[in-house]
Symmetry: C2
Subunit: 409 residues, 2 copies
């Protein structure tokens, strides 16, 4: 993490040690089964360092010897791979679209997945729902001791260092809430928490559209609009953990009210909720006859239905998407002009609406980026479990070693 | 620098070495005369490391022993301080306001300063003017061998790694231009180049309003509008070196044309040039009678004159400033909402216009920051030499050690 302390002045030994340990682990995760010699080539570490770290990982039961691999020379070599059976992590994502829980292994492969609608928009009931999903996930595992920890993706303002939700207005949570402490108390497992778009950004970087990139913006265009920033290969947290609030930059100072307490925010123009609410009103007022017809036939009010109505000739519906793309395009190009990322990954359901939304969004971005430079824009193909998997993956990177280390409680 | 390579995966030994060397150097620069023991306390380095690096700095003539300091214990200790006489750096800043050249010592103290109006807006003539200023600065130094290098602050799109101006539309420079190579060829000195708002940001961090901060945004509100970003203590360059283009984010998609080739950019509403051009037109059209009177009396068309006219009752002039503050406030708060900086430093001449501009700018920022959090906003007190001093200071951090090291040419 890029943090605001004096670490840049003096690169500390323990940081280097844990960075290098993670580097060996990630190399085995990616390439295993793999020989020590190849780990050395891939990581650039010394032979001694690779030996020390792999011995440590073996001792903690994180990796195991998996026989020998052909090295191309006369002798074969011992190969290491991740010990997948005995180390599972839970990830849980709570956002306005619903709650998703997963169990992943150390290669971030999903073993079990649960998705539920939110039972309420109140934090106390949501906390109970979270606990319920975690309990449900645990019943899928015969030996609970293989579950090493929990990663939580949460919206609003999250303080990752203290493990606290500072503010989640959408869930009527206006006071700091020690979510990590509460879940740790309930399940006796270590817990990490992260802002949900950051979890999605991490997932994209690890196994999505951003693989191999060290500098990217992930923008979730969904019922809410948020952004995760990865710089120098790590999640960027800013000074107070309140980064990426692209959904609440002011697009029109005279615009309507937003739930955040301000007005004219991007979310009130470009979120799926904003677009669908305008569509619904237009259908009701007779301005979107095709949509009214589809709804009357029992189709649900979804982006797909609205897209169909626009394609069938509902100009008003088309315009709502077009206008949403206008605003989203201006906001995304502003972020590009400030941050000059290697790539932008667009997630959420809105980019799936190709014709009236995505095509125009791309036009606006291409037009509004400084000097009309060509920018690498990608669409996410990870599904709605992305944030939950990202949160669990973050646990692996941040807390897993100490959870299974000699100092584990 | 936060750069997009694989360095985060494996912290390299040589990076650690140069980081630690710079850390010892900066400590002596800040606290000298200082004992080795106190250097150790300040930097957190080992006794062995402090001894090695200080011996190296001594050998290169960068520091010298300056007698003994009281340690509070029975024995006094040898003290080190920067060798100020024999190491001078030239900094030169070229921007639409004019050209500024400085000579600084290793404590970034200005020894000589030259400011000239631009002779032209064409790059070839500006290059000659730059060379002329550098020659003029050199005549101020009796022994030219004490000048160790040149730091260049330049607008537009700068590729710091290649030492090239990629694009500077304001100077009719549309092709990459090897400014570092040209100046090195002319003067036989190593040269570094940096985007001018980044140089200002660095100056603020080193000796301005941002001292001690490791995460800040610097916004220059002047004839042009630009932003420098410092994250994790270092200048943030993004992927292609095109960061901080806050002056060219689109504020109104239907707005007028900007010299950058786009339309509706922040600069066309909130730059001093934009405001003064509107004021001048209003005076001419009879809409700003106080301003017209002041101009008729021979006062120059400056921000001070316009401010006076607004104070005397010219509503139109007041409105131009107010509207500029509206737009600038929206853009700055958008940057805050994305990046969550520790502080924002406002530079350039516009913030000096207190009543119609700065007060309203603050109101807009306070209002438009997500969750109306309190943000640390500061006004720069460094003068117009800030970018030139920053560029020369950057040379000290980036190129000085190799310029005076055993590998110096």
């Amino acid at each position: 993490m890029i943090r605001d302390d004096n670490m840049t002045e003096t690169v500390r030994h323990d940081l280097m040690r844990s960075t290098n340990m993670l580097s060996v682990f990630n190399c085995i995760r990616k390439h295993g089964p793999i020989s020590k010699r190849r780990i050395q080539e891939e990581t650039g570490l010394s032979w001694g360092a690779v030996s020390t770290f792999s011995a440590d990982l073996l001792e903690r039961g994180i990796i195991s010897e998996t026989g020998r691999v052909d090295t191309g020379s006369r002798r074969s070599a011992t190969a290491f791979d991740i010990n997948l059976e005995n180390n599972l992590i839970i990830g849980i994502d709570t956002n306005v679209i619903g709650m998703t829980g997963v169990i992943i292994d150390l290669k971030s492969r999903v073993k079990t997945k649960i998705h539920q609608e939110l039972v309420s928009n109140h934090i106390s009931e949501l906390l109970e729902q979270m606990k319920g999903i975690i309990r449900l996930l645990m019943t899928e595992v015969s030996d609970r001791s293989v579950i090493k920890g929990i990663g939580v993706a949460f919206p609003g303002h999250v303080d990752t260092e203290r493990g606290v939700s500072v503010l989640a207005r959408q869930f009527c949570s206006l006071e700091p809430l020690d979510i990590c402490g509460i879940l740790k108390g309930e399940f006796g497992l270590p817990v990490v928490i992260e802002h949900d778009p950051n979890c999605c950004a991490l997932s994209e970087q690890l196994f999505g559209a951003g693989q191999g990139l060290t500098n990217l913006l992930y923008v979730r265009l969904s019922r809410g609009i948020g952004m995760g920033i990865i710089l120098g290969g790590e999640i960027y947290h800013g000074f107070a953990g309140a980064t990426g609030e692209i959904g609440h930059i002011t697009m029109d100072p005279d615009g309507g009210p937003c739930y955040c307490g301000n007005n004219g925010c991007l979310e009130i123009y470009a979120s799926s909720e904003a677009v669908l609410s305008r569509c619904e009103q237009a259908a009701r007022m007779g301005d979107a006859p095709r949509l009214a017809e589809l709804l009357a036939r029992g189709e649900p009010l979804t982006l797909e239905t609205a897209e169909k109505a626009a394609a069938a000739g509902d100009g008003a519906v088309y315009d709502f998407f077009y206008r949403a793309a206008d605003y989203a395009g201006l906001a995304v190009s502003a972020a590009i002009n400030l941050l000059d990322p290697q790539a932008v990954i667009l997630g959420g359901e809105m980019p799936d609406v190709k014709e009236p939304f995505y095509r125009h969004l791309r036009e606006v971005i291409d037009r509004r980026v400084w000097n009309r430079r060509s920018i690498d824009i990608r669409v996410s193909h990870l599904g709605r479990s992305s944030a939950a998997i990202g949160a669990a993956s973050l646990f692996i990177q941040q807390a897993f070693f100490s959870a299974v280390g000699p100092d584990a409680s």
